[in-house]
Subunit: 596 residues, 2 copies
């Protein structure tokens, strides 16, 4: 019904040529990710995604998950087997520590694998995604006992993981949390409360589920300063590590959602469930933030992933569907009509999507590399710079890639005309699935506020200054290169818009914080556009050098044309974003609430 | 679950104050639409929409339509009764000729009624919508016998109407049509073929269905010049007008769609169904275009309508949901958190939607008034000018109102956070329902091509020249009015962008038609933005005059603030559209098809 082909060539170009990850062989794990290993992993991930995960994407949507009267939840046909293959193939431990059975490979290599799986089957990919997020939090904040108990089983695919934050009255504002934890004589806690929107909260893939749960210890301070993180095993654990009886966690219902039907989104009831503290009392938010940054990057990749699979299907349809004739003369005289890819408006749609996807993929690889540097570099300055980059660009990756990724899925659907509205065609599922990525892991408005209110001013604006320095240095280094003019001219103009917007924020955001709030979403997209423009300039440089050395290569020629399209048609959106930012909060905030 | 309150005050402001329709009492039907009558109709339509149609919107989505093994189709619970109320209340004959039982009222009055019904229940509103479209085609192109036979029964709500254009291989390109018509000795035709995507093609609301069908008469010329229009009654008609047996039309299946589940979208099989010719042989396209223009305006209103109902629900949620605190200090100290409407990014979303909706509503009323003038004026010049306006702005109303209307529904959904993704909340239905309006009645890319390729150059650009003259004259007339500066400055800048884009098209579109195609969607939105900017300037002028005369009025104050928001934040998008247009077809068309 739908097709998916993993963009292997594009990933290789980014890893090998643009970001040259062989240069980082001094970092732990990177030497193991030699060219051969990388290619094998990327190829195998492509195969798994194309042949195992994508074929069960459509049926997963139609069948959905079912909650039975006894609280058990079954996932769609094929999901259980696919999960088994993930565990057996070692896919859950790609970046996990070797001491717990993982392979310790770089995130830079794992992120393209994630993209493939998310493109192939977004609903399914959330089960491994959340398992890896939960693992990451345990690895950073858990004690040895917790790591030893949970991580190896998660890497093996025997157990899955979840994140339990949201409650009915408490979404973005986690300070409103009510779930409570009562300390027991043996040092464990009994946890009671209701959590909603828990992805994979109950399912039939694994014997056990590792719930990471935010709750308030009796007597804790009000607000987020009284929130602690716990790990709660769905099944009680015997001393020998085997599974005991149920541990007071049950699935009250599963949600009827717009999309991602293959993922079970549960209401979870905790009724004196026994858990252990992860990290320190009342420091749950800090522990959760580790998971959140990883998760936010992952959700950003979901936006790209849905945009990619939607693009591939729309492109195939556009080459196949015969309707009308080219404006510049018949192109397929032997047929009743030309394929619709001859029409400029169809081209506009396809070029817009691919020009975004290719730059977004570069941004993901770039940011993943920084993530590896932040965790693995032996140089404190390099770690700090990488961490600054992560902080600055995580909200951009999450917010922009999902906003635009969704819009791209909608645009791809439009290529199909009426057929795009029909479930059997499959493209409307991409739209419904992509929609959630703009919402969860911090709605995109929250990402924008995080960027403008916290990440920009942090450390005197150090992260943004470093970003400006890098982009400006690149432009200067290549200023003499005539072939780069078409890229650097637009990039420099966009950078100037970003500088003006930043200046405006500095001058007006403190004076009236609503000005910063009013600017936030536009600023996130403005920074995102500049970032993607920089990615295009970097890719163009490498593509031109490669072309000069190796002669005609269709892949590289397409890369340059697509980049040019981005620079001339898409990047100039920065000016509109700047105009909006400079308008401030005036007319936006003027009406009384009851006028709405 | 969801709420809907018809925007009665806004409609009154437009009809009475902005467009002063009492000035047109010399036109047929307008004198009957006196202030009292208008208010009664608007109030009753509001009541019907709020109390009858909206309550069955959610259940219609969940229940959907069911096709039974014998080909019968049942609509969701409550639809049949609502349809009965529509017929009995005279709603189907609002603009219909009095000689056939209609009320002969202006379209200007009927269009707000349509908006209310479409907001309240889009899937349901398509049944009356298509019935009225079919009626319009019969009234213009049918013979007396056809009018007498079909129209009174449609006005009474006894019979419904459909449009049968699309076939599996033939959507936009109607020249590819295969359904054939064979002339019989008695002058009737036997029609055979398969039509798809037929809204309301089979249902249980009415005893009979009036199918308007495009088909190719045996031996007709190839392409669209060989297409004729027929009327085919679902049931055979006896000489006395009573219904006989089935007439060879059957529903083969109903589509599973992304949305509008309450409307039955059918595959219709015509198997030697008896029909009569509407208009002349091989002139079916001309006859169909009558229906299409009406239908395209109606679909544009659907975009506005979904944007409006989505806005209302998001605004209510934003005033109710407590989460976080205002950036400028606590606003609800007695509560655990402030309502989220205090946050600038939520305001940005709500203001963006309402600033669009209010101007779009004005555009619909303006264009409806032109539709009335085009059909009812006794002055040929006035008719021609009104017809020019209709031709120019129909693709804008259809394309822009549905593109932006959908985006607004998505934005409104975002206000809900995770709850917006859950079916029971109801807002995600607005998104799924709104999506179709960008596709059917000519996908929006086709609207853009119609605008740039046909409507702009027609009669030496007469329509656009008249549009420019009107807007420029308004700006000039009010140039001295200090209070209009905030509106006229941005409007003039936007008009200049439009002029430059038009000039570019004239210079480059003929040289290479792909340049026109490459510019088309951006040009449609650019013209749409200028049009909405002009609507805002007109409304601001009237609101300011009224305020000066009548003192404090919250409605008028809100109008001015909302207009200012549009002019400073939204109208400047014209510059981006111009930049894109001036880029041309180069990088867009450069790649070979197999690079996609």
């Amino acid at each position: 019904m739908t097709i998916y082909k993993a963009p292997v060539e594009d990933v290789s170009f980014l890893l090998n040529d643009v970001f040259q990850i062989d240069k980082y062989n001094n970092l732990p794990g990177f030497a193991d990710a030699s060219l051969d290993v990388r290619e094998a992993i990327i190829d195998e991930a492509a195969k798994l995604s194309e042949e195992v995960l994508h074929p069960i994407n459509g049926v997963g949507d139609i069948e959905g998950c079912t909650r039975h009267d006894d609280g058990r939840v079954t996932t769609p046909k094929g999901f259980k087997d696919a999960w088994k293959q993930l565990g057996e193939g070692g896919w859950l431990g790609l970046v996990g520590p070797t001491q717990y059975g993982g392979q310790g490979l770089p995130v830079t290599l794992a992120q393209p694998v994630n993209e493939f799986m998310m493109s192939a089957n977004m609903a399914f990919s959330m089960y491994p995604g959340l398992t890896q997020g939960a693992m990451a939090a345990l690895l950073v904040h858990g004690n040895d006992e917790q790591k030893k108990t949970f991580v190896p089983n998660m890497i093996a695919g025997k157990w899955t993981g979840t994140m339990n934050l949201t409650e009915p009255q408490c979404g973005t504002d986690l300070g409103l949390m009510r779930t409570k934890a009562v300390k027991q004589a043996d040092g464990t806690y009994k946890i009671t409360g209701t959590k909603i929107f828990i992805s994979g909260g109950e399912q039939d893939l694994s014997d056990n589920i590792v719930h990471l749960v935010l709750a308030r210890i009796e007597g804790a301070p009000a607000g987020i300063k009284g929130v602690s993180l716990f790990v709660v095993s769905k099944m009680k654990l015997n001393a020998d590590g085997s599974l005991g009886g149920p541990n007071g966690v049950s699935c009250g219902s599963i949600e009827h959602k717009m999309g991602i039907h293959g993922n079970s989104t549960c209401v979870l009831n905790f009724d004196n469930a026994v858990g252990t503290l992860v990290g320190e009392e009342n420091k749950g938010m800090a522990a959760m933030f580790v998971m959140m940054n990883e998760a936010r990057l992952g959700v950003g990749v979901q936006g790209l992933a849905q945009s990619e699979v939607a693009y591939q299907n729309a492109a195939a349809y556009a080459k196949d569907r015969l309707q009308g004739r080219s404006l510049t003369g018949v192109k397929s005289p032997d047929k009743a009509a030309d394929p619709i890819i001859v029409h400029p408006d169809i081209r506009r749609t396809l070029m817009t999507i691919r020009a975004f996807n290719e730059a977004a993929r570069a941004l993901v690889v770039w940011t993943s590399l920084k993530s590896d540097l932040a965790h693995r570099s032996s140089d404190p300055k390099e770690r700090q710079e990488a961490d600054d980059h992560m902080g600055l660009l995580t909200p951009v990756v999450k917010g922009m890639l999902t906003d635009v990724g969704f819009a791209n899925a909608v645009a791809a659907q439009q290529v199909y005309g009426g057929h795009g509205y029909i479930q059997e065609t499959g493209v409307e599922q991409f739209v419904r699935d992509a929609r959630i990525s703009m919402i969860y892991e911090g709605a995109n408005g929250i990402q924008a506020l995080d960027l403008v209110g916290r990440k920009l001013p942090k450390d005197g604006g150090r992260a943004l200054t470093a970003f400006f320095n890098e982009v400006t240095a690149f432009a200067k280094d290549n200023a003499a290169d005539e072939s780069m003019k078409a890229f650097l001219g637009p990039l420099n103009a966009a950078v100037q818009d970003l500088q003006k917007a930043t200046m405006w924020l500095m001058q007006n955001g403190l004076k009236n914080p609503d000005n910063a709030g009013a600017a936030s979403t536009d600023y996130l997209h403005l920074l995102g556009l500049v970032t993607l423009g920089y990615m295009w300039a970097k890719m163009a440089k490498v593509a031109q050098d490669k072309l000069a050395n190796s002669g005609e290569q269709p892949y590289l020629k397409s890369k340059l044309v697509t980049g040019k399209f981005f620079m001339e048609r898409m990047l100039p959106e920065t000016a509109l974003r700047l105009t909006r930012i400079q308008t401030g909060a005036g007319s936006m905030m003027e009406l009384p609430a009851d006028a709405f």
